[in-house]
Each structure stands twice: as structure tokens, then as C-alpha cells.
């Protein structure tokens, strides 16, 4: 048996094994880094990575994700600081999540209501860093496609006077991202800064009405390091006087909101919604409910088309 022949047999054998098991997907975001993805024997989606500086790390479950054994997870790096993953879930629906250098892993979400036969791989391609096209064989055997385009984004600068105590800042940010991403608006955390301002940590917000601000609000909102005129500054503080979960009243030309330590997962998205021009509604399925975002009944809460139009028309989205 020649050497070439033996190699051929080995490849055949490896191919058969690969067929019986879950394929491993590898992606290089940059020349010194590798990310691997696989569906484990327990049906959970796992990842590990190798970096020139630290070597291999332990496998970890990606955002609680699961898929049928043998499902291929496809991964794409639109830019060196971002990964998008796609997989057909155990319910045959098409799921995606992403990792971003600034925020880590997001929750899995169903892509535009898409479904595919169990274990069908989804093929993504990025023609440019702000555009994705997806292709898949649907449950009816026909080939389907959809696309994502980063057409709108809102830039947020996080200023921390006090960390929240009930819901973490990371979770509030993620919850806002989930709702805004659902309507095609990317939430970019442009900067983070700690502010040591003990006199403003329990902020006098007066009546918290649009266009009317207190001396303390004016003082706080003067701290706009790194922020452009059309960027939103979100200040995390201990409490307001009177006690609110958050307040979006801000002086002209300084788009900003405050979030208190007792805020809900949705308060940040809600207050930024006010900054983008949205008003209260009487519906606890929606982000802009005036009945308190702690009482939201169908997380993630909805934004309706007229609200999306208002947000996109705001000079603060671009």
C-alpha cells in the first residue's frame, strides 16, 4: 500500500467520524487569535479560544445555547472585534448570537422568524463589515436568504457614579441591546468612565419633565468626556430625589439620562427611548410603558413601527 493510498484512507476515516459527530467551526478574527465552536455531546453549544498571548482556554457554553447533536455552528467575523454565530436550534428555528469586544456575548435570538430542517447549517457571508447575508435550506427543501445591515446605531457613553444593586449594569446594557437590535438599531457603548461625584450620587431631578432641569442635573450633565453632540450619556447613580428608577430630562444639547441602582433590566432602554423622543404608553408589553418596566409582561418588550420611525428620525441615531 503506497503512502498516498494510506493518507487517502485516513482522510476517509476522518470524514466518516466527522459525519457522525458535530463539526467544529474555527474562525480567526485576527492573526493571533482563534475561536472554535461545536455542539457538545450534551447538546449544548461550546466555544473555546486560542490567543498568541495566553494559549488555549477552557471550553464554555455560549450564552446558554443548545442545538441538536451534529448541528454545525457557523461563525463569521465581520470585523476583528466582533463575531456572529448561526445555528439551527433544537426547535428547528434559526438562531444567532454575537460577541463584541465591548460587551461580550449576547443572548441567542431567532433570526427574522426563520426555520430550517434540524441540523441544517446556515451559511453567512459579510460583503462588508456592516452587512451580512444568510443562506439556508428551509424545512420545505427550498433555499432561503435574509440579510442584516447596520443602518442605524445609537452611541452611548456610560458614566458610573454607583453600580446598580438589583440588576447589573451589564444586564441592563444587554437588555437595551436586545430590544434595540430587534428593530435594527445597534447600541454602541462608545466609552465607559467612573465619576467620583458623591454630591450628585443621589441626584435632585425635580419634576423630571422634558426641558426642565435642576442645578444638580445641569452640573452632572456637564460631565460629557468623549461624547459628541449627538451621543447619549447614561449616568448610573445611587438614587434620585424624588425617588425614581431613572429620568431622561436633560438640558438642550446634552442628550442624557440617569439610571438609579434600583432600576429594572429595561429602564436603560426605556430612558434612552425618552431621549430619542418616545413617550409613555399604557401597555406592559411595550418598552415605553408608563406603568413601570419592572412590570413588563413579555420580555423582551416591544417597540411599534411609529416608535421605530421616531427613533430613526432622531438626530441621535445615525
Amino acid at each position: 500500500m503506497g503512502c498516498g493510498e494510506r493518507l487517502g484512507q485516513l482522510v476517509q476515516r476522518l470524514r466518516r467520524r466527522r459525519g457522525a459527530r458535530s463539526p467544529i467551526t474555527a474562525v480567526a478574527r485576527n492573526p493571533n487569535h482563534l475561536d472554535l465552536f461545536v455542539t457538545g455531546t450534551d447538546g449544548k453549544i461550546y466555544s473555546t479560544w486560542w490567543d498568541q498571548s495566553v494559549g488555549w482556554v477552557n471550553w464554555f457554553n455560549v450564552s446558554g445555547g443548545a442545538a441538536a447533536l451534529g448541528s454545525e455552528i457557523t461563525a463569521i467575523a465581520r470585523n476583528p472585534n466582533h463575531l456572529d454565530l448561526f445555528v439551527t436550534g433544537t426547535d428547528s428555528r434559526i438562531y444567532s448570537t454575537w460577541w463584541d469586544q465591548s460587551s461580550g456575548w449576547a443572548n441567542w435570538f431567532n433570526v427574522s422568524g426563520g426555520a430550517a430542517a434540524l441540523t441544517s447549517p446556515i451559511t453567512p457571508i459579510a460583503r462588508n463589515p456592516d452587512h451580512l447575508d444568510l443562506f439556508v435550506t428551509g424545512t420545505d427543501g427550498r433555499i432561503y436568504s435574509t440579510w442584516w445591515d447596520q443602518s442605524e446605531a445609537v452611541r452611548v457613553h456610560v458614566k458610573v457614579l454607583s453600580e446598580p444593586t438589583t440588576i447589573s449594569r451589564a444586564q441592563m446594557t444587554q437588555s437595551m441591546r436586545d430590544v434595540y437590535a430587534g428593530v435594527g438599531i445597534d447600541v454602541v457603548i462608545a466609552s465607559e468612565e467612573t465619576l467620583n461625584l458623591p454630591l450628585l450620587n443621589d441626584l435632585d431631578v425635580g419634576t423630571c419633565v422634558v426641558g426642565s432641569t435642576t442645578a444638580e442635573q445641569n452640573d452632572l450633565f456637564g460631565h460629557r468626556n468623549n461624547a459628541g453632540a449627538n451621543d447619549i450619556c447614561v449616568y448610573f447613580l445611587r438614587s434620585t430625589v424624588p425617588p425614581l428608577n431613572g429620568c431622561a430630562a436633560h438640558p438642550d444639547g446634552r442628550p442624557a439620562a440617569v439610571i438609579t441602582s434600583v432600576a429594572s433590566p429595561w429602564t436603560m432602554g426605556h430612558e434612552c427611548g425618552h431621549v430619542l423622543g418616545l413617550v409613555h404608553v399604557n401597555d406592559n408589553d411595550r418598552l415605553m410603558t408608563g406603568n413601570g418596566t419592572w412590570n413588563i409582561t413579555n420580555p423582551p418588550p416591544d417597540l411599534i413601527q411609529s416608535e421605530i420611525n421616531t427613533m430613526i428620525a432622531s438626530p441621535l441615531t445615525s
Binding site: T165, T166, P198, L199, N201, D202, D204, T207, C208, R238, S239, V241, P242, P243, L244, N245, G246, C247, T260, S261, V262, A263, S264, T267, H270, E271, G290, N291, G292, T293, W294, N295
Partner: protein, 152 residues
């Protein structure tokens, strides 16, 4: 009369209009507000305490005083702010207590109320705090606030 759950629902909003709510609910809601402060959930108790202060009648001062003893900083901050809305004698007593709070932010908020209450005993406390408080932010704020009180 509003039930406990109705009052809780009214105050469990991201933003609320306290003066409007104080008018709408009135002193009849004080037993519910007292129960909500006693429940000790910081988000609800702080709002209930502040609303009680704004209603200001009846035993509102007892409710604010209970909030002033809360283990949660945010509830004591709300009590410090609500104190300034109470009738003078109660305002002085709750504020005086919170000027000695262990947490610097609560003392700062109590000083803001003390400045609004305008009472010689509180002014004297502010003078002492401007010299002796262990927190430099508190000392510095007390110095400015005491000078303003003297000019009034």
C-alpha cells in the same frame, strides 16, 4: 380607598409624578404606604416614604421616621429628602437623626434638607459637621451650606 396592591402599582413606575399622586391618594393611603415601607423592598420603600412625606398629614412623620431607620441607603436618602416636607417639629427630628447617619451620602442629603428647614439647632449641627465630619465631601458641603443658612 386604594388597596395595598393598587398603591404599590402606582408607585412602581420608572418615573412618577409625586405631587399629583399625593393629591390623588391623600392621607387615606398612609396605612398602605406604612405597610410598603415596612416591607423593606428598597425600590418600593423609598418611593412610599417620599410620598408619605409629601402627603405630610396624620402619621406621615412616623412613616418617614421608619424609613430613616431602614437598612437600605436608598430608603434613608428618600427619608432625608422627605423630611423637609414634614411639619417643622417632625422635619427637625428626622433630619437631625439622619445628619448622624453612618453613610456619607445620606448625611449629605440630610444637610440639603436641613438647609431648607432653617432651624437654629440644625444650623449648629451643620457648623459642627463642617469642622468635625470624618468625610471630606461632607465637611466641604457643610461649610458652604452653613454659610448660606447664616445669610438667610
Amino acid at each position: 380607598m386604594a388597596t395595598l396592591d393598587e398603591v404599590r402599582k402606582e408607585i412602581d413606575k420608572d418615573e412618577l409624578d409625586y405631587p399629583e399622586l399625593a393629591l390623588a391618594l391623600g392621607p387615606g393611603a398612609l396605612p398602605q404606604l406604612q405597610a410598603l415601607v415596612a416591607e423593606d423592598e428598597p425600590r418600593i420603600a423609598s418611593k412610599a416614604a417620599y410620598l408619605a412625606g409629601l402627603i405630610s398629614e396624620g402619621n406621615a412623620h412616623d412613616i418617614v421616621a421608619m424609613a430613616a431607620r431602614s437598612r437600605h441607603d436608598v430608603v434613608r436618602v428618600a427619608a432625608a429628602a422627605a423630611a423637609a416636607k414634614l411639619p417643622a417639629q417632625h422635619a427637625v427630628s428626622v433630619t437631625s437623626q439622619l445628619l448622624s447617619d453612618s453613610e456619607a451620602g445620606v448625611r449629605i442629603r440630610a444637610m440639603k434638607s436641613a438647609a431648607a428647614i432653617d432651624e437654629p439647632a440644625l444650623a449648629a449641627r451643620m457648623k459642627t459637621m463642617s469642622e468635625q465630619d470624618k468625610d471630606p465631601h461632607v465637611r466641604s458641603y457643610a461649610t458652604g451650606a452653613y454659610q448660606k443658612m447664616r445669610q438667610q
